[in-house]
């Protein structure tokens, strides 16, 4: 699903954010990416979402060589991803329903199809009864669940999450992680960047460890 081959990323020709990173993710895996802030987690996610291009090496996701993807093809590549942000990035001037519907309206689904899928996604995160609410009326944990519903509503093959539990208490964090495990169980490949080491240790998944732009650990593979 994901292959990093000797990937390097420099900013401004001097600062090296990533150096010779190699790893592979198979379809259907659930993997954590950890490291201190500045270790390169964000860079990995920015490369995977095509916000940035690698300075060196090759990244292949679901058969696409990201370094060679033309600008016009990037939107269509991104539609195969689901992205969950740390601060959930909901649009506060729209209802919960409209927020979750966003990826579908971008992809040109009809209104009835949109309604069906949005309700299915909201149901899965347990917030079907809040579809008419505005995001501001929801708690932090609920907002993050809406963010997840938006990331999975178009049934992406790969789900990327950037510190999805960053601002939540341990109980809510565990709930959120359980949600990711549910999606992983039905075949979605999941990559979660997180520095919540205690939580990661409790969940028995593969962990990629970054330090100063290098991959220093790849644990729990195949477990």
């Amino acid at each position: 699903m994901i292959a990093f081959e000797h990937v390097g990323k420099r900013y401004g020709g001097r600062f090296e954010a990533l150096a010779d990173v190699n790893f592979r993710l198979s379809r259907g895996e659930m993997v954590f990416l950890t490291g201190h802030s500045g270790a390169g987690k964000s860079s990995v996610l920015k490369l995977l979402t095509c916000l940035e291009r690698p300075s060196r090496g090759r990244i292949v996701v679901a058969g696409h060589d990201l370094g060679r993807l033309g600008n016009a093809q990037i939107p269509f590549y991104r539609r195969q991803l689901g992205v969950v942000f740390q601060n959930h990035q909901l649009l506060f001037d729209r209802s919960v329903f409209e927020n979750v519907a966003l990826p579908l309206s971008i992809q040109g689904f009809t209104a009835d199809e949109v309604a069906r899928r949005v309700r299915a996604a909201l149901d899965k995160v347990g917030l079907l009864h809040r579809e008419k609410a505005l995001p501001i009326e929801l708690s932090g944990g609920e907002q993050q669940r809406i963010g997840i519903a938006r990331a999975v509503v178009h049934k992406p093959a790969l789900l990327l999450a950037d510190e999805p539990t960053g601002n939540l208490d341990p109980q809510l964090s565990a709930d959120i992680m359980r949600l990711f495990e549910d999606f992983n169980r039905i075949g979605t490949t999941v990559l979660i960047a997180s520095h919540d080491l205690a939580l990661i240790a409790r969940l028995k998944h593969r962990v990629l460890r970054l330090r100063e732009g290098r991959l220093v650990g790849d644990e729990g593979m195949g477990s």
Binding site: R53, I74, P75, R78, R79, V83, I106, T110, R150
Partner: protein, 323 residues
């Protein structure tokens, strides 16, 4: 049998899914257009100021255009009255005058000819100058016979050619036509057209800048939204669309406001202008753009708004390509 049915059904599904996508696309456009209008209504004061700025920028060239149009009507009327006065030599007799009249009348390029005998000329002179008594004291009529000639073709070239030909006829002293002011009027009218065109181009640029600046601000306000939808797979066209609709709405609204301003202004000016025209013995209709002109103005203003928005969003999008 069973397989055949499934294939047919598959084909039908495929067709209807294409149809569904087209409908979804249309619905998306309608929704985006409505949203854009709604957002403009949510900021009534800012929107009104932008609309007025656009209206003012459009009214000036449009008003100039209208005034130029009525000046051209005036010009045409005046050209139609172009005529030559052919003065005969003082020695010419009545017989000379009537033979000249016949010869001139026979020409193809002459529309109509009237003979003014020395007696008629004197009478007119007395009437217009009110010098009846002073002139009756003269023992001899000093005026020559004259022909008033209306040419068929009113162009300055044709009129001056005719005047040359008439001058060469026997017993003709002078053929007079005031060509210079006709030509000046023509040149002034050409100049006026170019002034209107250049003003039009400048103010069109103004409309693009006004809309562009307004849209630039709303792009700034919606920066986060743009980032989010871009990251979940929105194409540049999708990101641009709401702003293009906003720009087009602003252009259309500004165009409508300019039509209202223009009509009000023309109504206000019409009374004194009509009075002025009447005092010169002319007729003057209040100029208006008419249906086609108004439609043209609205289409142009809508396109200018769209273009301003396109440029403003384009600048923002060009910063968003991955590095």
């Amino acid at each position: 049998m069973k397989k055949g049915r499934r294939t047919r059904q598959g084909a039908r599904n495929q067709q209807s899914s294409f149809e569904r996508q087209r409908l979804a696309w249309q619905a998306h456009h309608r929704q985006t257009a409505r949203d854009a209008l709604h957002r403009l209504k949510q900021r009534p004061i800012g929107t009104a100021m932008t609309l007025m700025a656009i209206a003012v920028a459009l009214v000036l060239p449009a008003a100039l255009w209208l005034l130029l149009g009525s000046a051209q009507v005036l010009d045409r009327n005046l050209s139609d009255t172009a005529q030559l006065t052919v003065y005969m030599t003082p020695s010419a007799s009545d017989v000379d005058a009537s033979s000249l009249l016949e010869r001139v009348r026979a020409r193809d390029d002459v529309g109509s000819v009237t003979l003014v005998t020395p007696e008629q000329g004197l009478e007119q002179f007395q009437k217009t100058l009110g010098l009846g008594d002073a002139l009756s004291g003269l023992d001899k009529n000093p005026l020559p016979a004259a022909l008033i000639v209306k040419p068929v073709t009113q162009t300055p070239e044709a009129v001056s050619a005719l005047s040359l030909a008439l001058k060469q006829m026997p017993k003709v002293d002078e053929a007079q036509v005031d060509m210079q002011w006709l030509e000046r009027l023509k040149q002034l009218s050409t100049l006026g057209q170019r002034v209107v065109l250049s003003f039009g181009a400048l103010f069109a640029l103004g409309v693009i800048l006004i809309v562009g600046n307004t849209i630039r601000l709303s792009v700034e306000n919606r920066r986060e939204e743009i980032e989010v939808i871009t990251l979940i797979g929105a194409t540049h066209a999708f990101v641009r669309r709401p702003f293009l609709y906003s720009g087009a709405w602003l252009g259309l609204g500004g165009g409508i406001a300019s039509l209202i301003l223009l009509a009000a202004g023309m109504a206000w000016l019409s009374a004194p202008l009509t009075a002025l025209a009447e005092s010169y013995g002319g007729q003057w209709a209040v100029p208006s753009l008419g249906f086609e002109g108004s439609l043209f103005l609205l289409i142009v203003s809508t396109l200018l708004g769209w273009l301003g928005a396109f440029i403003a969003v384009g600048r923002h999008l060009s910063h968003m390509t991955p590095k």
